[in-house]
């Protein structure tokens, strides 16, 4: 196991930087099949394999069973309605039962 990294100069810079890490500019996914089948795979073969995988994936997606939106929507509605009474944010519970709402304390000065 690698020992814990000490912050490098670039880490210290990023500690104080206002910029978030470069999201979306990553190298992209590795092609596992290309690597595992050795250096004999040329770039063209890798692209063809990738395209073929995309075609296979799309064929699978086209062939799944789908439900009509009206029926799916009706089921979403039914779920909401049956669980609405258990949802403290939809049907408010008394403040005493909500641990985050402080009870008002009355100070009686005698």
């Amino acid at each position: 196991m690698r020992p814990p990294l000490r912050p490098s100069r670039s880490d210290l810079n990023s500690l104080f930087s206002l910029e978030p890490p470069l999201i979306g500019l990553g190298r992209g996914p590795l092609l596992p099949h290309a690597l595992s089948l050795g250096a004999a795979m040329s770039n063209n073969m890798a692209k063809i394999a990738e395209a073929r995988k995309t075609v296979e994936q799309l064929k699978l997606e086209v062939n799944i069973d789908r439900m009509k939106v009206s029926q799916a929507a009706a089921e979403l509605l039914a779920f909401c309605e049956t669980h609405a009474k258990d949802d403290p944010l939809v049907t408010p519970v008394p403040a005493a039962e909500n641990p985050f709402r402080d009870k008002r304390l009355f100070c009686v000065l005698l």
């Binding site: 999201i23 795979m41 086209v62 799916a72 509605l77 779920f79 309605e81 258990d86 949802d87």
Partner: protein
């Protein structure tokens, strides 16, 4: 532990090598066969079949995409908000900040609730991961990670450990101990190794497995004890920014969203993508399953949140307003799924009526962008973390 059902794929004898493995369906010269994942990879890398060139494969892919849209459109007979017209409107919505958790020295990037509905773990840009008691606002544990930008943190289901990671490309698990003499950092266990930053992590139903998403475009399932990679999920064309596991009753799937504007639903056993949705116009920052497991919501930099139904296989609602122009960084549902809470980069939190598609309320309070938002396990409150260094619990 392994009495879980498979969603899509069968476990059996591969049609090619005849070994007993988890199988996936492949098409060979229009014939449907069941291959194990290794044979499927080898078949995909075979030399050119007749009449296949890169261009013909690409045009076939385009025509399949068109066909997919057609099939989805055929079942689009009504809109969700039309069906929801008969549902009662929600009452007056009043939510206020009930607790403010102060203590982070820099932007709060991620948070998670413990199953005890009380403890919260949060991580920030300065490398600190803090466990809070949200009732009393006390800090119970604090760990300093050896990297900055800790973008992911998660609480274990047992409440005995936390996982976190970020720019170090790893996901580390820390067991939580109440012994004051023990140094938490000494017990750290490195579980996941990616080739780019860690953007999201989540324990599965037990403390033993962790699902991670990374800037290298992949998601992965790891065994915590041995650090072994159990399954990897390839398919995103760019950084994966978020993931969410299906609620336990509905099986072994999870959804991930990335910078390629796609939200993909995966089968955890086979590593295969089951469904993909590409209707957002920008990076998807957050995905969350509907409580029933039949749908999921996503929040994106295009300033909209969208609801996708998994059985209708399409987007069924968009939550947007012309006045909202900043991206949504984080979304979560209330317990019944009626309300969708979304934190935005314009420092506000919008509360949407999921069924009717209308905004119920706007919550102000944070002084910088809201980066993370989670509803508590019992639904009584939700917590939001922000770049203004604080977390707020709203109820």
């Amino acid at each position: 532990m392994c009495d879980q059902t498979f969603l899509v794929n069968v476990f059996g004898s591969c049609d090619n090598c005849f070994k007993q493995r988890a199988l996936r369906t492949v098409f060979k010269k229009s014939q449907q066969l069941s291959y194990c994942s290794i044979c499927a990879e080898i078949m995909a890398a075979d030399g050119l079949h007749e009449n296949e060139t890169l261009a013909s494969l690409k045009s076939e892919a385009e025509s399949l995409k068109g066909k997919l849209e057609e099939e989805r459109a055929k079942l689009h007979d009504v809109e969700l908000h039309q069906v929801a017209e008969r549902v009662e409107a929600l009452g007056q919505f009043v939510m206020k900040t009930r607790r403010t958790l102060k203590g982070h020295g820099n932007k709060v990037l991620c948070m998670d609730w413990c199953k005890d509905k009380r403890r919260i773990v949060s991580s920030s840009q300065d490398g600190k991961v803090i466990v809070w008691d949200s009732f009393t606002t006390n800090k119970e544990h604090a760990v300093t990670m050896p990297c900055t930008w800790v973008m992911a943190c998660a609480y274990a289901p047992s409440g005995c450990a936390i996982a976190c990671g970020g720019l170090d490309n790893k996901c580390s698990v820390y067991p939580l101990t109440f012994d004051k003499n023990e140094n938490m950092a000494a017990k750290k266990k490195s579980v996941a190794m990616h080739t780019n930053y860690l953007s999201a992590c989540s324990f599965t139903n037990s403390d033993m497995q962790i699902l991670t998403a990374s800037g290298d475009g992949t998601c992965a399932l790891w065994d915590v004890e041995s650090g072994q990679l159990l399954q990897s999920f390839h398919g995103h064309g760019a950084d994966v920014l978020c993931l969410d596991l299906a609620p336990s009753e509905t099986g072994n799937t999870f959804v991930s969203g990335g910078c390629d504007k796609k939200a993909m639903v995966w089968d955890m056993r086979s590593g295969q993508c089951v469904q993909a949705f590409e209707t957002h116009e920008s990076d998807i920052n957050s995905v969350r399953y509907y409580p029933s497991g039949d749908a999921f919501a996503s929040g994106s930099d295009d300033a909209t949140c969208r609801l996708y139904d998994l059985r209708a296989d399409r987007e069924v609602a968009i939550y947007s307003k012309e006045s909202i122009i900043f991206g949504a960084s984080s979304v979560d549902f209330s317990l019944s799924g009626r309300l969708l809470f979304a934190g935005y980069n314009d420092y506000t939190i919008n509360v949407w009526d999921v069924l009717k598609g209308s905004r119920v309320s706007i919550l102000f309070g944070h002084e910088n962008r809201v980066s993370t938002l989670r509803v508590s396990p019992d639904g009584t409150a939700f917590c939001s973390g922000s770049w203004d260094h604080t977390l707020r619990v709203w109820a």
